[in-house]
């Protein structure tokens, strides 16, 4: 549960102060990127679409990573701004996104069940790439939220809202416990029944 490709960053920036505007408004953005450099770049991309400010006449005041952690409950309350509150609790994440397909821009709402938001976002990027052939730079995350079970819209997440969930694993993939023990030929045929 540690290694996420996409990290969530909080970037705070503003235009540079000028003689006509001594204290320009400060803007804060939360976004997903693989590293800090990309996060800052994305910040300017979005901000210049919203306000009349560019990287050349603006400054990033702060960039912090929004982490997930295994902190116990009482410590989580203290740092709740920065850490994922309960990474062992399964949540339903709703992600609103805007993506560019080959023919134009579309909005989309997707739901994921995961323990952490970073995991859900990574799942989303992978799914968009596989189902719609959309790559990272063509996706803009508009909003993410934790959805309570009653308000979930997709059947594929709602089917797991069952406290007595029970299903068999139908196909057992036989594989060696380490890649070192992998061989091309085996002495006996595998038993695929769970």
């Amino acid at each position: 549960m540690g290694n996420f490709r996409f990290h969530q960053y909080q970037v705070v920036g503003r235009a540079l102060p000028t003689p006509s505007d001594e204290h320009p408004k400060i803007y804060r953005m939360k976004l997903w990127a693989t590293n800090e450099v990309r996060a800052k770049s994305k910040f300017w991309y979005f901000l210049s679409k919203l306000k009349k400010v560019k990287k050349s006449n603006g400054q990033v005041l702060a960039i912090n990573e929004w982490l997930s952690s295994h902190l116990p409950r009482f410590l989580v309350a203290l740092v709740s701004l920065i850490f994922e509150r309960k990474p062992t609790k399964i949540k339903n994440y709703g992600i609103w996104l805007r993506y560019q397909s080959r023919t134009g821009y579309h909005n989309m709402y997707k739901e994921y069940r995961d323990t952490t938001l970073n995991g859900a976002v990574e799942h989303m990027y992978n799914e968009m790439a596989s189902r719609h052939r959309v790559r990272y730079h063509c996706i803009q995350i508009i909003k993410t939220a934790t959805i309570p079970a009653k308000l979930c819209k997709r059947e594929s997440t709602k089917q797991f809202h069952d406290s007595k969930i029970k299903f068999p694993l139908v196909f057992k993939k036989v594989r060696p416990p380490t890649r070192k023990l992998k061989t091309t030929y085996k002495a006996s045929r595998p038993n695929l029944f769970m």
Binding site: Y112, F160, S163, K166, L169, V170, K172, P177
Partner: protein, 134 residues
């Protein structure tokens, strides 16, 4: 054949790949089609892909997402450890572990013991043959 081992809350599974290989864990909740939230007395609760789990016959009675203490209590009550070690699967794993940890002297002793056992079997067989012939 109908299925007998289901993924359900309280199912005990064996991890068959990765860092926690060989550990017995309890499925505490199902995240989605491929992953479960998994817990054991000596590990932090975490998610695991079903591909890494081999389901066992043992199932314990727990509510969804129990606290660690109640999970440990439920495992004690269902006596998971003993049931596992007395099951044929569990016994085989213990024997495999033992065999893998033998040193050369142990293997020499095993060889002597096998020869001795073979000799005893042959003696009994010879006796039975003689009885049959006469």
């Amino acid at each position: 054949m109908p299925f007998k081992r289901y993924v359900e809350i309280g199912r005990v599974a064996l991890v068959n790949y990765g860092k926690d290989y060989g550990r017995l864990v309890v499925i505490v909740d199902v995240i989605d089609q491929n992953r479960a939230l998994v817990d054991a007395p000596d590990m932090v609760r975490g998610q695991m892909n079903f591909k890494r789990l081999s389901l066992t016959d043992i199932k314990i009675d727990i509510p969804r997402l129990p606290k660690k203490k109640s999970l440990i209590a439920a495992m004690e009550a269902a006596d998971v450890k003993n049931k596992w070690e007395n099951s044929s699967w569990g016994r085989k794993l213990i024997v495999q572990k033992r065999r893998a940890s033998l040193n050369d002297f142990d293997r020499f002793k095993v060889m002597l013991a096998r020869i001795k056992r073979g000799g005893a079997i042959q003696q009994e067989l010879a006796k039975l043959k003689k009885q049959n012939a006469s």
